[in-house]
């Protein structure tokens, strides 16, 4: 709100919508104990408002007060729509859960410039970037190309850790036996070791894997996880974490995480045999 009592158009409309939702909810509750059910189908308001623009370039409405002349008339029409209509006309929930422009380190001015070209979060920035190119977004929005590249890089999906649930008990550190006699240490020559995927050790009874990372929610949904090319069902998904169900009888193999930007991260899932974590490293 600004000093003269004006509100952003979005806030203004949300306030009315919220009141209409309350009406519909109340009517629905009343219908439980009543033989007839009414619904408010349409509402049109001819609002006399003063339209202002603040220093940030946002349009604000203020309802006309007593004895004020020269107000504008805004016709707002509200109607009831069905769930499929909502889905057709709104962005997906996954998109709204994507990292915000603020999370990408963009300042208020850059955020506002991007919002004017319809970009409010990382998913929308990536979608527009893949169809028109970052250079075009930079030109249209007047945000510097380097700044956009930096923001996109910051918003790149990443997996920081994969943990089974429940996590395995910490392995006891074996005591080194006392040294007896001289020890011969061969000199180490050059060793070639091909890059191995990180190993995730999982006990046989584990039912879930928890992935922690960043920007794991894409426009088309969360990152997908496959074990031995078998897609694992997602139980919880958020921008910074993902939980997937493991099948009942799972085996060791490649665990592949397909990130929303198309990149893949591979781990080796290793199912532990027997009770490896028994005291004293008893493997029996």
């Amino acid at each position: 709100m600004v000093g003269d009592g004006g509100f952003l158009v979005e806030e203004f409309i949300n306030a009315i919508t919220s009141q209409l939702d309350r009406v519909q909810d109340s009517l629905r509750v009343k219908a439980v104990n009543r033989p007839l059910t009414y619904a408010l189908k349409d509402l049109t308001l001819e609002l006399k408002v003063f339209v202002d623009m603040d220093a940030q370039g946002n349009v604000r409405f203020r309802t006309s007060g007593p004895n004020e002349s020269g107000s504008s008339v805004v016709h707002l029409g509200f109607t009831t729509i069905t769930k499929p209509m909502i889905e057709e006309n709104t962005i997906s929930l996954a998109t709204t859960r994507s990292a915000s422009l603020e999370d990408l380190g963009l300042g208020p001015e850059d955020r506002q410039k991007l919002e004017r070209v319809g970009v409010r979060n990382l998913a929308q920035l990536n979608r527009l970037g893949s169809s028109t190119g970052v250079q075009t977004i930079a030109r249209l929005s007047d945000v510097s190309f380097d700044r956009l590249k930096q923001a996109i890089a910051m918003g790149r999906p990443q997996v920081h850790a994969v943990q089974p649930e429940p996590p395995p008990k910490p392995r006891p550190i074996p005591q080194a036996p006392p040294k007896a006699g001289p020890v011969f240490t061969p000199s180490r020559g050059p060793v070639f070791s091909p890059q191995q995927p990180p190993v995730i050790r999982v006990a046989p009874g584990v039912t879930k894997l928890n992935l922690r990372g960043a920007n794991l929610m894409g426009e088309d949904g969360p990152a997908s996880v496959r074990l031995n090319n078998r897609l694992l069902a997602v139980s919880e998904a958020d921008n910074d974490q993902l939980a997937v169900h493991l099948p009942e009888q799972f085996e060791s193999g490649a665990l592949e995480v397909s990130l929303p930007d198309g990149n893949k991260v591979t781990y080796e899932l290793s199912v532990m045999d027997g009770d490896q974590w028994a005291p004293n490293g008893d493997m029996s």
């Binding site: 709100m1 203004f12 306030a15 009517l27 009543r34 408010l40 049109t44 609002l47 007593p66 004895n67």
Partner: protein, 78 residues
């Protein structure tokens, strides 16, 4: 006394009931109601208030009157 718009609209919907014993049922109603409206911040949110006009007469001290139109329908028997 300002009332949230939702409460005023609910009262209007409630009023669309045929007198008891007449055997009539209101199936649809179209209302054109002048409202005095006001928006204000309450608990960090914008709340929209709407009440019928204080008076049928115009006076400089009274809030501006805005026209509202609404359609109320019988949506089915519970």
């Amino acid at each position: 006394m300002w009332t949230p718009l939702a409460d005023t609209l609910l009262q209007l919907v409630e009023s669309m009931v045929a007198p008891a014993g007449t055997g009539l049922t209101v199936t649809e109603a179209y209302l054109e109601i002048p409202l005095e409206v006001q928006s204000a911040m309450k608990n960090g949110e914008v709340v929209f208030y709407g009440i019928p006009p204080h008076s049928r007469w115009k006076a400089g001290v009274l809030p501006e009157v805005h026209m509202s139109r609404m359609r109320i329908e019988l949506t089915g028997e519970a």
